[in-house]
């Protein structure tokens, strides 16, 4: 066992002194510098907008099941001028806002904003982020972008309506005039700035503030996932930022970066395809930005609830790093139909398919972690296993879209929609729920109801799979995405049944989320009080109080071992339990109290 010099411990204590907890409402709840409070702020904001995005999804599903019929409840509130029904232009704004809100203002804040903030300092044994002030600024910049989203929803000529990808020329003034689109592009830029601030903080914090003994290969896998995500964010969100800036210049100041053809001036316009390059140089890493935290969290949870160390921890870390590197080199597979040379298309296809190698490695590690474990089917474990299932479906359908031969047929069909919903909406969402159920006791000091959680899980999983399988089927049969009324086409008429079944499943999915909301709020108020380590796991955050004090740790822990210390016979002999904390010293012999109890 290596010895940590006491100077190092002293240096960490000195670098991160204990600050007094602020007492005023403003500094405690609004401009809080505490990463745990900022994490909770992100969680509330993200969950709120998750509901908004979910309601928008319900309106899309209604339109596909009952095209042109008045929408119950929502229609009478928001669409009164159209008699409660969704018109074609409104339909455009609904799917656009659904996509943008879900990606940038729901999943990103919940997975990265909330759990990144809450977990990173705790899991590495730090008292706070490296730059607490920047962290608070990051949240309030995000809040500003939410104001822009709301302004967009009530913009003249409706909200943004150029699709979540915001492709020009549709997204320029030529295609979508009106302030709604402008506000939304500005919102994406501002939320990008917020993400970069957060990313700088996360990357620096993990480099500088790891507790003594917390080597890179002892970091919990959730921390690895979040840290790699932060690196991708810092590198690639700026590219989206510059695309948004140029689009704003086009919309507000009359430049012509993305306007071409008849709408451009004679002296040579810009290039709409340029936007696609910029968008996907960012966009493909973004796919992994949304799934890497989920991978990390699930890797940890599978080990915790199988009561076994994660299988080949280093392999999982290397695979995640490999995915990060590869993710920067595959963006062209979104653009096979833009007139690439076939050579470029084939190169992108090859690189894309190579990603399945590290992805398979992760999968095998997860399966081998669960294999022969003493599985505890708690709610977080169910959601982790569910994530494996939906992510497996999403990954396998991705192969068809990565290969040019099949993508040319499937491009822009509902198959694509089904595929990326299975990865981003199903896998990331299910992993977020796993994380919420798992860390709820640490965040709020109370436990959630397990029975309601399991009911929530089964309805959610079955419905998610039904909804998105329906999309895969419809797409494979030729239904293009973003169609206002697919049944105008004779060859799609017979798909009404499939789409209706998927829509009913979607409505049931929404219903299941109300079980979650009820459980969440009830547990916040009246849940059973949580002890410090209710799940009996070994990472650092479970060895401080629930919820942790303002300064996280009275003494900065000295880390002695990796994050998944389960089923060690020596630990069982000396401590009488199947796990030992990362910073817990192993006593020389079994204490007499435990010996007599055993």
């Amino acid at each position: 066992m290596q010895v940590i010099p006491s100077e190092e411990r002293a240096a960490h204590e000195e670098l991160q002194p204990i600050h007094h907890e602020p007492k005023s409402f403003f500094f405690k709840y609004l401009w809080s510098l505490d990463h745990k409070m900022i994490g909770r702020q992100f969680l509330w904001a993200g969950l709120g907008f998750l509901l908004v995005g979910g309601l928008l999804a319900m309106m899309i599903r209604w339109q596909w099941a009952f095209p042109g019929k008045p929408v119950p409840v929502l229609g009478s509130i928001f669409l009164r001028s159209q008699g409660g029904a969704i018109g074609p232009a409104t339909y455009m704004t609904i799917f656009t806002m659904h996509g943008l809100i879900m990606i940038f203002f729901a999943i990103t804040p919940v997975l990265i904003g909330a759990f990144g903030n809450f977990l990173l300092p705790l899991q590495i044994g730090a008292r706070d982020m490296a730059f607490p002030w920047l962290n608070a600024l990051s949240f309030w910049t995000f809040a500003l972008s939410l104001v822009f989203v709301i302004l967009s929803l009530f913009g003249e000529l409706g909200a943004a309506g150029a699709g979540w990808t915001t492709y020009p020329p549709l997204s320029t003034n030529v295609g979508t005039p009106g302030s709604g689109q402008t506000w939304m592009v500005a919102a994406v830029f501002v939320t990008g700035v917020s993400t970069i601030m957060g990313g700088i903080n996360y990357v620096t914090t993990v480099i500088r503030h790891r507790a003594p003994g917390m080597t890179w290969m002892r970091l919990p896998l959730a921390t690895w996932g979040l840290w790699l995500t932060a690196i991708l964010n810092v590198l690639f969100v700026p590219v989206l930022g510059s695309a948004a800036l140029l689009l704003l210049l086009d919309r507000l100041f009359g430049t012509q970066f993305f306007i071409a053809g008849a709408t451009a001036s004679v002296s040579g316009g810009g290039d709409p395809i340029l936007f696609q390059h910029l968008f996907w140089i960012f966009g493909h890493p973004e796919v992994y930005i949304l799934i890497l935290p989920a991978w990390g969290i699930v890797s940890d949870l599978l080990s915790f609830f199988s009561r076994k160390p994660a299988n080949w921890y280093r392999g999982t870390v290397y695979a995640m790093i490999a995915v990060c590197v590869l993710s920067a080199m595959v963006y062209g597979h979104h653009m096979f139909l833009t007139g690439f040379t076939p050579l470029l298309g084939q190169s992108f296809m090859l690189l894309t398919l190579i990603i399945s190698v590290p992805a398979e490695l992760l999968f095998l590690n997860w399966l081998r972690t669960v294999w022969q474990g003493s599985i505890r089917l708690t709610t977080p474990m169910l959601f982790s296993l569910g994530m494996l299932f939906v992510f497996g479906m999403g990954g396998l359908t991705g192969l068809y879209l990565g290969a040019t031969a099949t993508d040319i047929y499937l491009h822009d069909t509902m198959f694509v929609v089904g595929h990326f919903h299975l990865t981003m909406a199903a896998a990331s969402f299910v992993a977020s729920l796993a994380a919420i159920y798992f860390w709820f006791p640490k965040m709020f000091g109370r436990r959630m109801n397990e029975t309601l959680g399991k009911v929530h899980f089964w309805i959610t999983l079955v419905c998610l799979v039904t909804v998105f399988s329906g999309q895969l089927l419809a797409g494979y049969s030729g239904q293009s995405r973003r169609l206002y009324d697919p049944y105008q086409y004779t060859f799609l008429k017979h798909l009404l049944g499939v789409n209706r079944v998927a829509s009913y499943a979607a409505f049931l999915l929404l219903f299941a989320q109300f079980i979650f909301i009820y459980n969440f709020i009830r547990s916040l108020i009246a849940g059973e009080k949580a002890e410090s380590n209710p799940w009996q796991v070994s990472t650092l955050e479970w060895f401080t109080a629930s919820p942790p004090p303002y300064h996280n740790y009275d003494r900065i822990p000295t880390v002695l071992r990796g994050p998944h210390e389960f089923a060690d016979p020596e630990v069982r002999r000396r401590l009488g339990r199947d796990f030992i904390g990362q910073a817990e010293e192993l006593p020389e012999a079994m204490p007499p109290a435990v010996a007599s109890a055993g």
Partner: protein
């Protein structure tokens, strides 16, 4: 194998130094991130230019080279001044810090003013943003860069007031160091912009 004492001497510097190193790492990560933003802008320029058969398109006024060339020198000198201010602070020559920062600030101001002259001149010559890709690249890239210069000038102005009260010394120069780093970054981006947008 080195003993614990020796290790502590090598690895553990006083607290101020450790915090400063953390802040510096954060600044480097930020600049790396922002470099990607500018890289995307240069990528856009390259792609738009590659698409057009003639650059600049016929009938558009060519961009001047002399004025932005002088401006490149000015922002370069400004960077040098800031660096001298920083090394003066490190050598505890408090009297030399203030004039260096003042020079850096004034040269930065001169840069922005000359940019303004450049824009108005070309505007009067008939180059408008709505004139296609060529003026879009010129106005878009220089304007986005100028916003960064303006932010830097804000920082330099803040340093100036602090230097007036002799705030910088060998151990206390973090703000100066971070803003000087940012200022070098903005200067380097301008150099690249001058080479690509104006010269070639």
């Amino acid at each position: 194998m080195i003993g614990a004492e020796a290790m502590s001497v090598i690895r553990y510097r006083p607290r101020g130094a450790r915090e400063q190193a953390t802040a510096w790492i954060g600044m480097v990560i930020f600049l790396g991130s922002w470099a990607m933003m500018f890289a995307a802008l240069f990528f856009s320029y390259g792609m738009l230019r590659a698409r057009l058969p003639v650059w600049p398109p016929p009938g558009t006024p060519p961009l001047p080279r002399l004025l932005p060339g002088i401006n490149t020198l000015i922002i370069g000198l400004s960077s040098v001044a800031m660096q001298r201010g920083l090394s003066a602070a490190r050598r505890a020559q408090a009297a030399a810090v203030l004039p260096a920062i003042a020079a850096g600030f004034l040269l930065g101001l001169a840069f922005l003013s000359l940019q303004f002259v450049l824009w108005t001149g070309l505007w009067r010559a008939g180059l408008r943003p709505e004139g296609g890709a060529y003026p879009s690249v010129f106005y878009g890239l220089t304007a986005i860069h100028a916003i960064h210069v303006a932010v830097g000038l804000g920082g330099l102005g803040w340093l100036l007031t602090r230097a007036f009260f002799h705030a910088f010394g060998p151990a206390r120069n973090l703000g100066l160091r971070l803003w000087t780093g940012y200022w070098h970054f903005v200067g380097a981006v301008w150099l690249l912009m001058y080479l690509t947008v104006f010269l070639i």
